[in-house]
């Protein structure tokens, strides 16, 4: 995803000199081609995310479209007040890019688990929150962020995520995209963990449960229509995120469902309001938290069988 992002951004930078990239001293190997090709549109702010974010706001208010880039919680939580006051309040054209959603850097430890960022970013007025699930969505989200004259948060996985979509898709602001059809139940998912939802759906199919999967590349604004549609159709909607279940994507879905007043139960799958101190790779930690394809399918099978 990060390679797709930077490839897309490089293309945009070539077409538009106003597109600038600031890194907080991260992106070795990933950003190299960008800074060699567009040195005038690239800044390394050093290990200083607060200043990086304020500088980005200043540059954006002078007419640039600025992308701040770092990993995990550094470009978001570390400098959340700079994002709030300097970027969002001023509606500055800054796009915050974080690589390493959820447990992508799992083995590096809790400090590098990006597991509260959706909640905090979506709480900021004016902020658009993008959670692409695969390289196709990443490319379109990156292009879309340029078209929005205001702050965006782009939450990326890491590297090596496989394409999940087949054929043509079109990412639109506030629109979910179908990954799989299903008759019995549905999983709404935000981000690269969508591959686990697909795996769960495949396992469930073998068990006789037809489970749809929808990707939400934009958590804010969120696709109210699709939520309301399935609220009227299903007894239970499952939400899936590699993020704390408090305040994140599942919570956003609950808000819409509650406002609509319809009866579907929203079952939020994610990290159950805890810090994960276990050591391991992304797959291992997902499984530990019950959000691997296998664990999700077991959970849904049990829940759906009990109805």
């Amino acid at each position: 995803m990060r390679n797709t992002f930077i490839r897309t951004l490089s293309r945009m930078a070539g077409e538009d000199k106003k597109v600038c990239l600031i890194t907080g001293d991260l992106g070795y190997g990933v950003l190299t081609n960008f800074w060699e090709t567009y040195p005038e549109q690239f800044i390394n702010a050093g290990v200083s995310e607060q200043n990086m974010t304020s500088v980005a706001a200043g540059m954006a208010l002078e007419g640039n479209c600025v992308y701040t880039y770092s990993i995990a919680n550094f470009p978001t939580l570390r400098c959340v007040e700079q994002i709030r006051n300097d970027v969002a309040y001023h509606n500055a054209n800054v796009n915050i890019v974080s690589v390493g959603a959820g447990f992508a850097y799992g083995y590096l430890g809790m400090t590098h688990h990006a597991t509260e960022d959706i909640a905090i970013m979506r709480a900021l007025p004016k902020m658009v929150v993008f959670t692409p699930c695969d390289p196709y969505e990443t490319e379109q989200v990156t292009v879309l962020s340029r078209e929005i004259e205001g702050p965006c948060y782009i939450r990326l996985g890491k590297g090596g995520e496989k394409p999940l979509h087949t054929g043509d898709i079109k990412v639109e602001l506030g629109k979910a995209i179908k990954l799989k059809d299903g008759e019995d139940t549905v999983i709404f998912v935000a981000g690269a963990i969508a591959n686990e939802a697909i795996e769960a759906s495949d396992i469930l199919k073998e068990k006789g449960i037809s489970c749809g999967v929808y990707s939400f590349p934009t958590v804010k604004p969120i696709d109210k229509d699709i939520i309301n549609h399935f609220c009227g159709l299903m007894k239970t909607i499952y939400t899936l995120e590699e993020h704390n279940i408090v305040g994140g994507f599942g919570s956003a879905v609950c808000e819409v469902a509650a406002e609509n007043g319809c009866g579907a139960k929203i079952d939020r799958l994610g990290i159950n309001d805890e810090y994960v101190s276990a050591v391991g790779k992304q797959d291992y930690l997902r499984d530990l938290c019950g959000i691997s394809g296998k664990k999700i399918s077991e959970y849904i099978l049990k829940a759906e069988s009990g109805k």
Binding site: A57, E62, Q82
Partner: protein, 272 residues
């Protein structure tokens, strides 16, 4: 650009007088913080900054960001006195429905470059603007006033590194060095030592001045540029101009009430 209708000493006095009135009427705070930087702001808006009151967003304007946003009343006063908006509006400061909040807000206020209030933000945004203007080949300059207590914030030192590294010599950071912060003298709070030596060590072109001496301030602003960002350490007195407010920590927060308001006004009347 701007017509020079007002001298820096006239403007400084008006800022002080307006600020006493504004904080008195609103019950707002930070009067001493405004008085300490009144001369710096007055010199900037009378002699240094390029701006057009009829076109506040003119691309050729110099950018000014008040990083110590709690002294916003002083900036509003300067903007009104040079003609960005009507002076009578100053008395709405902090009132319900006013556009003049206690800390600086750019929303609908002509002449305000950037909203501040949380410390350690404005100086960094100023670096970003300086960077963008430099890249764009603009001759416009960027000025920012920070408090000395504000230098407790780590982000000030992040941008001190950044502005030097990128040789932002279109940036001038003025420290209103009144030696006091919220609860006590700076040195009793978090020892700052020599701010001039610190910024010099960070690579900046540093000039120390008496922050109430307009000639020294003007000289520091106009001195030829090196390839480095400029830091002007302006030694000031907190509460300057009203004897009982000077170096009195009480007036960081207290507004001038009752007889103290009359006394303050009387002292500033004598200055006229």
């Amino acid at each position: 650009m701007s017509e020079k209708k007002i001298t820096s000493s006239e403007l400084a006095l008006k800022i002080r007088r307006d600020a006493i009135e504004m904080t008195h009427v609103s019950g707002g705070s930070h009067i001493a913080c405004i008085l300490s930087m009144a001369d710096i702001i007055a010199v900037l808006y009378s002699d240094i900054l390029k701006y057009d009151i009829n076109n506040p967003e003119d691309s050729g304007r110099d950018r000014f960001i008040l990083s110590k946003g709690h002294a916003g009343g002083g900036l509003y006063a300067a903007l009104a006195e040079v003609g960005f908006f009507d002076v009578s509006e100053l008395l709405t400061h902090c009132a319900n429905g006013s556009r003049l909040s206690g800390h600086v807000s750019h929303k609908d206020v002509p002449g305000v470059e950037f909203s501040t209030g949380s410390l350690g933000h404005g100086a960094c945004v100023a670096s970003g603007k300086a960077m963008a203007l430099k890249k764009a080949g603009s001759n416009a300059r960027v000025y920012t006033v920070v408090g000395d207590g504000e230098c407790d914030e780590g982000s000030i030192w992040e941008t001190a590194l950044f502005a030097n590294h990128y040789r932002l010599n279109n940036l001038t950071l003025i420290i209103d060095h009144n030696k006091m912060q919220s609860l006590d003298y700076c040195e009793n709070t978090i020892e700052l030592g020599s701010l001039a030596a610190k910024f010099k060590c960070f690579g900046w072109d540093v000039i120390e001045v008496d922050g109430h001496n307009h000639a020294e301030l003007k000289d520091a602003f106009l001195r030829p540029r090196t390839d480095k960002p400029r830091c002007i350490v302006a030694h000031t007195i907190k509460g300057k101009g009203v004897s009982f407010m000077e170096n009195n920590i009480l007036y960081h927060y207290r507004d001038p009430k009752d007889e103290f308001y009359d006394l303050a006004v009387a002292e500033l009347e004598v200055e006229k």
